[in-house]
């Protein structure tokens, strides 16, 4: 649930409850005041009757109005009632039943006792009450609606920096060379948030760069000891007495040194591509690169009896010569190495797409794993460090190309969409 909605829900419910309680209290207070007012009127009416009868010795002529009834009955009871009450009774002038406020009292005139009832219609008071309540409710509704919209507008405005920050974080990559730019806002809380996020990202980026630098330095540093091992081996093999007994271990060491050296170079290359140390601003003739690589690898292709189908258009793109070499080289190497004897490779190059498909004894590969670093299918017998396709992926990511793998009619197909 959005903060705004949650806040609004609480806010509106509380406001409605408070207004309802307030309205009820208001109703009763108002009613009490109005009734008290009527009682006062009735009392003064009573006083008038008392005074009039005392002064003139008879009752004043009763002029019935539609809101006031006075009934004078002679009675025998001397009981002094003298109290107020509400009662529903017939209003002959309006010809309907109505609520009345009444006072009942006794007047003694010429030794006769009269029971006098004065009733005031409550109708008008009720009408007034209704009107007041109606206006109150309308006011409440108006306040709620206006409050809702004002909150909505103000909150949206207030939270804008927050959403901007979220949006920026969402699209920001740690690998990015530029620092995260978060705008200063007029709200302290958001400034604190932005500053902390910027600080955190700065630290994370620092750590990330340290790690990168470490990888790169480590790979560099290891080349010199490797060079020592290689040089010592080169000298060692000159002694044929040693070699006669140790040809196999020596060869294994050579291969291991090779593998390590290639591995470090691949890692370094990956780091360099990730760090965007290559400017993609060179004119590259992809078709030329493919032809050159094919001729460099022709001895491997013909040794395996692989048939190559080419469908290559001249394509000139803005890219990086060395990266293009590596990209095409890695893909071609794979297509040859993981192929079987008398297999097939087909290469298609158009303005928008480069596709290389090859047969292989390997089953369809896992699409989510194939470009992962150090991923090698368990059935792979050939040498390799599992970084070839990761490098291809990294190059494509850097250049903004799409890279896809699929398995289609016995072919492993890798396509790059420019």
């Amino acid at each position: 649930m959005k903060l705004f909605r949650k806040y609004n829900r609480t806010n509106i419910i509380t406001t409605i409850i408070i207004f309802i309680i307030g309205s009820i209290a208001f109703f009763f207070v108002l009613r009490y005041v109005l009734i008290a007012q009527m009682d006062e009127d009735l009392e003064s009416e009573q006083q008038e009757i008392f005074t009039y009868t005392k002064k003139f010795g008879h009752f004043a002529p009763i002029i019935p109005t539609k809101d006031q009834l006075t009934i004078i009955d002679s009675t025998n009871t001397v009981q002094h009632k003298d109290n107020f009450y509400s009662i529903k009774k017939w209003n002959p002038l309006k010809e309907k039943n109505e609520w009345f406020r009444e006072i009942d009292f006794i007047v003694t005139l010429n030794n006769k006792i009269y029971d006098i009832t004065v009733s005031d219609s409550e109708e008008e008071t009720f009408d007034l009450l209704k009107l007041i309540i109606l206006i109150t409710i309308a006011m409440i509704a108006l306040i709620l609606i206006i409050g809702f919209f004002i909150n909505r507008i103000i909150l949206n405005q207030l939270w804008k920096p927050f959403y901007q920050t979220i949006e920026k974080i969402n699209t920001y990559h740690l690998t990015s060379q530029e620092p995260l730019q978060l705008e200063q806002t007029s709200i302290d809380e958001f400034n604190v948030l932005n500053n902390n996020i910027a600080g955190m990202i700065d630290r994370a980026q620092h750590e990330y760069r340290n790690l990168k630098e470490f990888t790169s330095n480590a790979a560099h540093e290891m080349q010199t000891p490797l060079a020592v091992i290689r040089a010592k081996l080169d000298i060692l093999v000159q002694d044929e007495n040693i070699l006669s007994n140790n040809a196999n271990p020596v060869q294994s060491i050579e291969l291991a040194v090779n593998k390590l050296s290639r591995l470090f170079n691949s890692l370094l290359l990956l780091t360099k591509i990730e760090n965007r140390q290559f400017d993609l601003n060179e004119q590259v003739l992809l078709n030329d690169i493919i032809e050159t690589k094919l001729s460099e690898l022709s001895h491997l292709i013909s040794a395996k009896g692989i048939i190559v189908n080419k469908n290559i258009e001249p394509v000139n793109i803005i890219f990086h010569q060395q990266l293009a070499d590596i990209l095409i080289g890695n893909l071609l190497n794979n297509a040859i190495r993981y192929n079987y004897e008398l297999g097939r490779i087909s290469i298609t190059l158009t303005k928008n797409e480069f596709t290389i498909a090859n047969t292989s004894p390997l089953p369809p590969l896992d699409n989510t794993m194939v470009f992962k670093r150090f991923y090698r299918h368990s059935g792979t017998k050939q040498e390799g460090n599992g970084l070839g396709l990761s490098i291809v992926k990294q190059i494509c990511d850097t250049a903004g190309y799409q890279l896809h793998y699929k398995y289609y009619s016995d072919h492993h197909v890798i396509s790059i969409i420019f």
């Binding site: 560099h220 010199t224 040089a231 060869q251 050296s261």
Partner: protein, 224 residues
Amino acid sequence: MKILIIEDEPSLNKSMADYLNAQQYLVEAVGNYEDALEKIEYYHYDCIVLDLTLPDGNGLHLLEVLKKNFKTDGVIIISARNQLDDKIKGLQLGADDYLTKPFHLSELSVRIAAIIRRKNLQGSNTLSFEDIKLEIEGKTVSVSGKEITLTKKEYDLLLYFIINKNKVLSKNAIAEHLWGDDMDLADNYDFIYTHIKNIRKKLMQAGTGDYIRSVYAMGYKFGK
């Protein structure tokens, strides 16, 4: 032929010095920037083997010193940094070649030989072993004055063998020389055998001896 080795890793320094010494070069070796600076200021070398990362200075500065003093010493950079910009910078500053660690000593030897040949253009531009003669300029091979036809790879391989004569050369070193280290070398071992078989056949048809010997299935040795 005088060679100066500038490399701070003593063990690698010694290996290079030993290997090159055995090839009739006069080798001097230093392990830091200061010593190197002194040597290059006072003496002339046919080739300098220069490591870029020295404990007390950057090898690239030494190149600048050479350039400033109009020295014509050949320079081959050996660096752990396989970085294009270092390479370009080094070559711009007058280095003749660039070799990335780890390298084979035989490869270093071939590169040095090439640099020295290029620097001494007035000298004979041929290389010979017994009755085999290589014209470096035209890349032709003759046996007792009779020209034989080799493919590009076969010629490269023969040149490599003659420069590293009497040395055991591993298949790995040979493959790296012929195809570079971009390729997975083990894939290429079979092709070395094919090339060697062809060279041997062509040389023997031309009437010279069989100088290539397989050494315990791990490499080859060229020599009498």
